[in-house]
Symmetry: C2
Subunit: 185 residues, 2 copies
DNA sequence: CACAATATTGAACACTGTTCAATATCGCGC
DNA sequence: GCGCGATATTGAACAGTGTTCAATATTGTG
């Protein structure tokens, strides 16, 4: 209940509109009760992000590329990722605004959800380089996707509102195409 | 004075430790006075980020690559960028945590500072593809650097604490090398 | 019905951003 | 030195925030 309420709060009021009191009252409880379920607001946000990662995974999985060409698959995956960020911007933002207090690593179940998403990229990248080792493909997938993510982040946060700018999709295509060429070589 | 105080506040207490009252009292004033100088906390953060962008530019400029090889230059630039993020983590974080209220675009002077930083990447990328147009080099520089930035972000925010992970520098090298290969082709 | 185990409350504490009437300080002409 | 207008500065007030915890309410069971 609390997490559902938190989700709609974030989507309607933005990530700054999230507060423990609002979440509590949205489900007919008081703040005190919320603190019996969650250790802190950080804990609530972490669990909310867990759900968002699940939703993102399902979003990507539900929109597979039609063609079998690896290049097309990767570009389509990037477009689908960008579309999610553009559609669920507030929730997607919370995903990366949450910064664990230093030394406070992310829990394993969270990293597992992250791995699952990266797995989709690995699968799309694999047919492109059968000659490479499993580990190298995994590393390449993470590097490439971190790159696509970076483009998406800077675009959504308006750090790319510069003269002569391309669309997010065009930038992602450029990154993927050039990276693929190099990775295949 | 206020911006200097804000800087040291962020570096000592982290980005969450920044508050208008703390900044004001750090320079011997009250909150009210601070609001005669800055429109809002958002305004203060934006100006703080402007200084950080200047500092980042100087940091990169003060550490030029020794070799003339474009590949080395780009890798060195990435390493220097990563080093800044690791050294001034809190300040660097504020740079991207600040999200302008929707419709509220970043001011031109801020975008100009961003362009200046991107210019360093363009300069490093240029000798690699003289046959390409000016605009294409600019676009490639932005795409590549957004990618390096994405790697850096996910690393610092612990989104890459997965099994079989590489260092930030290794990931950046992988991205740059493969992108370069594709871009040269 | 009683009693122990849960569940829930709401007030309290120490913060936060922001505003604005009231006050203090300053520079300058006389 | 004095007065006065222009700045500069204050600090209390408002509405919110995360978090805690003694006090209360509700529940299931013997």
């Amino acid at each position: 209940m609390a997490l559902e309420a938190a989700e709609s709060l974030v989507t309607t009021e933005g990530y700054k509109g999230l507060s423990t009191r609002k979440v509590a009252s949205a489900i007919g409880y008081t703040v005190g009760t919320l603190y019996l379920v969650f250790d802190s607001q950080e804990d609530l946000v972490l669990q909310l992000n867990g759900r968002t990662l699940d939703a993102l995974y399902e979003w990507l999985r539900a929109r597979p590329a039609l063609s079998g060409d690896p290049g097309n698959n990767l570009r389509h995956l990037a477009e689908t990722y960008i579309a999610y960020a553009n559609t669920e911007t507030a929730r997607w933002n919370v995903l990366f605004e949450y910064i664990a207090a230093e030394g406070n690593d992310l829990p394993d179940w969270y990293l597992a959800k992250l791995s699952k998403v990266f797995g989709l990229v690995e699968a799309a990248l694999k047919p492109l380089a059968d000659h490479r080792g499993e580990q190298e493909i995994q590393q390449a997938a993470r590097v490439l996707w971190a790159g696509v993510h970076g483009i998406c982040t800077l675009k959504i946060r308006h750090r790319m509102d510069l003269a002569g700018g391309q669309t997010t999709e065009q930038m992602a295509h450029m990154l993927i195409d050039n990276f693929m060429l190099g990775f295949q070589a």
